[in-house]
Subunit: 327 residues, 3 copies
């Protein structure tokens, strides 16, 4: 039972130009979509791909209505990218096997954990004593949720994620490290997505907190007592050190790292790979990675970089010798 | 059976000012501790939080004895942070469920592995043939310990850690890679902590070695034939390439990376995010990350950085034109 | 049944100088190999270790034939490192327990997955509906292969790897993130090695593709719709963002990161820790990490770096004041 265009607009809205009965067999990118497939155009740079597209139907913005109709069937929507997102959801819901609810028999769920009946605890997950998993939340497979940690509703946790491992806390004692037992937990809100092999440590005394709507990609490290504000998104391999607070609606690029005990205000956007070494008190976009270069040139620039303070001194000396004139 | 202050000082020492019978229901940070909670003050910057604290008891250094007593109950200890660490241990030991010993039925332990009866192999762990797990060591859950790898006594391994995967060894052969079988193992000493999803590869010929008292945070990559010296600590998402030796009592910041075949001497401290591209022969603190900036400013600095060698040449040319005078 | 030198050259070729019947009990590095052990010399810098070596036999290049024979038994091979690689394979094949084929009883393999009978699905792996695992491929333990993902022949996947988690795709919608269901899969060719806790996300619409002969180390993030070309190798903790294409025969250093939607041509070599912020259209070696320095010096250089554009302006101003002479 493939979707047809009529069923799509009935479910998602939008203005259909074309036959309601046209059957859609799949979704594909604009450049490669063939007959039977639906696609979308949201990036202005790709407009040239519209006319030659072989797709059965293209989702476009109102400004491209005429151009799209000239080609064939189209759905006009205010935000084609958002429409595409919802179409993937519709596709998954109607065209792919439904997910289960309950607990897979291979999962190890403590009798004192509390799992909502509509949640799904997938194969080989571990849910420890006192953990709470909310309605419609999915632990895909091989996820650990540690004791007393809680996950809200409609969350998805990808394989291998570890929620509630001990934070990294040790007191120095005569050249050795004395363990600080991590007595807090992790509290995760609703509509949070957590990527594969991502780690969120439990708090030392208080809790580590991930607020509603946060999206975390794979292999991210969230240390103890971090708080991530609502609807912030963090890309893969990023790392956030202990007790740092990230505001709401922030985006943090892949492999970025943020030092501990920092405060990042709302609406901050950190470029991929950047190192944040302190608080950021002003919304905006920030970056800072060493510019890539041919290897030999990098070696030369990097060597010179170490001399930068002395080069500045030499420049000052020259300026003193040659005072500025009125020109 | 909550702890009271008398039981705390009986177990941990320290000079109690206040009622021995005062019951403690929990630990909390200085700023938020309420009645019934104990807290500590180890950071001089937080002294202003002492007087208004609502805590039942504050652990303080001798210098703050009078100030603390003026507020209410206190325990005076030479090192309040260390005292706090030990208090968390006491708390866990007496107030929280005891950990188990033995092997969880869902774990897969090879009959030829050797597990000390006091150790705990948690749910869904894999312990392969010839592996050895020492007394009082805990594999929390979903940990893999590969064949012939050994872990000493009183170690804790957090979920998802992989000890003894194959090192990354390949010989180039006419544009392809020929596998170098990794015939060594991993040897881990006593009192080592290993974080969630951290990987320690087995050696190619000899072993990868983690010495006594080393602390590894989450998502760390330790490549084959690395050696980490006693009581060194490595923060999350760091990566150490093959055959590198890290000395004793080193600290390596989060997301730092160290190249292969390097030697880092004892008492070296590497800042978070830094790239160590060769050996470090002198104890001390090292760093090096590109300074974060507003995105546009970063783009400008980064572009100029590539011209740094030529800027230096131009500066030299000017200096030749304008020789230094005696002033 | 230890190998003797005769059996080694019968299996691997090479020119033996010494007794065929000499028994070999193990492999070891040149510096530490003792009686009964075989070693190799492939690094010209280590020639001085040849004469004093106690090894039973040394594998050397033709140029070192005489020097090696003067010491004792040797095998002369055109490429001693490759010979050593193959010797490790021979050793593993003949001296160590054979690996199993089939499915470990603790693994969770969907009835609609297709696993070649010669493959091995190790303990606590998850293989989802519609996944395909080719001949002689090994999932060591605790590996997840998501639905409809395929792995070719003779691949090895180390513990904890996650193949086919959802890619990180969300459409912004009034300050929230709307999930883009990830409808593609992961396709992995033949002779691919995948390291511990590495993640390869499924494509959004099309597939994420890892071509034949690719080698991936531990803790690597490969985002959705990435393509890695044949015989490329990527070291630990690297991260590649979505829709990027890496060419054939590339090497990417540890902890390097590559931005999304970039194209890296064949035969590109990226240094460890570097940040690739766009496409690379020319084969060659590239790098770029901030040079490590003593902490205080780094702070000074980094502060000056932010002033670099203004320093350049000041330099220009001086040059205008002092025009170049013919010299």
């Amino acid at each position: 039972m493939a979707l047809d265009l009529g069923a799509i607009v009935d479910a998602l809205g939008g203005e259909l130009h074309g036959e309601r009965s046209l059957a859609i067999e799949g979704l594909a990118p604009l450049a490669s979509a063939g007959a039977g497939q639906i696609t979308f155009l949201s990036n202005a740079k790709l407009v040239a791909q519209l006319a030659p597209s072989q797709a059965a139907c293209v989702i476009v913005a109102p400004a491209l209505r005429d151009q799209a109709q000239a080609r064939g069937a189209c759905i006009v929507a205010d935000d084609p990218y958002l429409y595409y997102a919802r179409l993937t959801q519709l596709w998954k819901r109607t065209q792919m096997p439904a997910r289960s609810a309950g607990v897979h028999p291979s999962a190890v769920v403590d009798p004192e954990a509390e799992v909502h009946p509509s949640a799904w605890i997938g194969p080989l997950c571990v849910v420890e004593r006192g953990a709470r998993i909310g309605a419609d939340t999915v632990l895909t497979s091989r996820v650990t949720v540690g004791e007393r940690c809680s996950i809200g509703e409609r969350c998805t946790v990808q394989p291998g994620a570890v929620i509630g491992a001990d934070g990294f806390g040790f007191a120095p004692n005569a050249g050795r490290w004395e363990k600080i037992e991590q007595l807090g937990a992790v509290r995760i809100g609703n509509d949070v997505d957590i990527g594969a092999n991502t780690c969120i440590d439990r708090g030392a005394l208080g809790d580590t907190v991930i607020e509603d709507g946060v999206k975390l990609d794979n292999l991210i490290q969230i240390a103890h007592n971090v708080r991530i504000g609502r609807h912030s998104a963090i890309a893969g391999s990023a790392a956030i050190a202990g007790s740092t607070t990230v505001g709401e609606h922030c985006t943090i690029g892949g492999a970025a790292k943020i030092t501990g005990h920092a405060t990042i205000v709302d609406h901050v956007h950190i470029g991929g790979g950047a190192s944040v070494t302190g608080s950021i008190r002003k919304a905006g976009a920030y970056g800072g990675v060493y510019p890539l270069d041919e290897f030999g040139k990098w070696e030369k620039s990097a060597a010179t970089l170490r001399q930068l303070p002395s080069l500045r001194e030499r420049l000052r000396a020259l300026e003193r010798r040659l005072p500025a004139r009125d020109e």
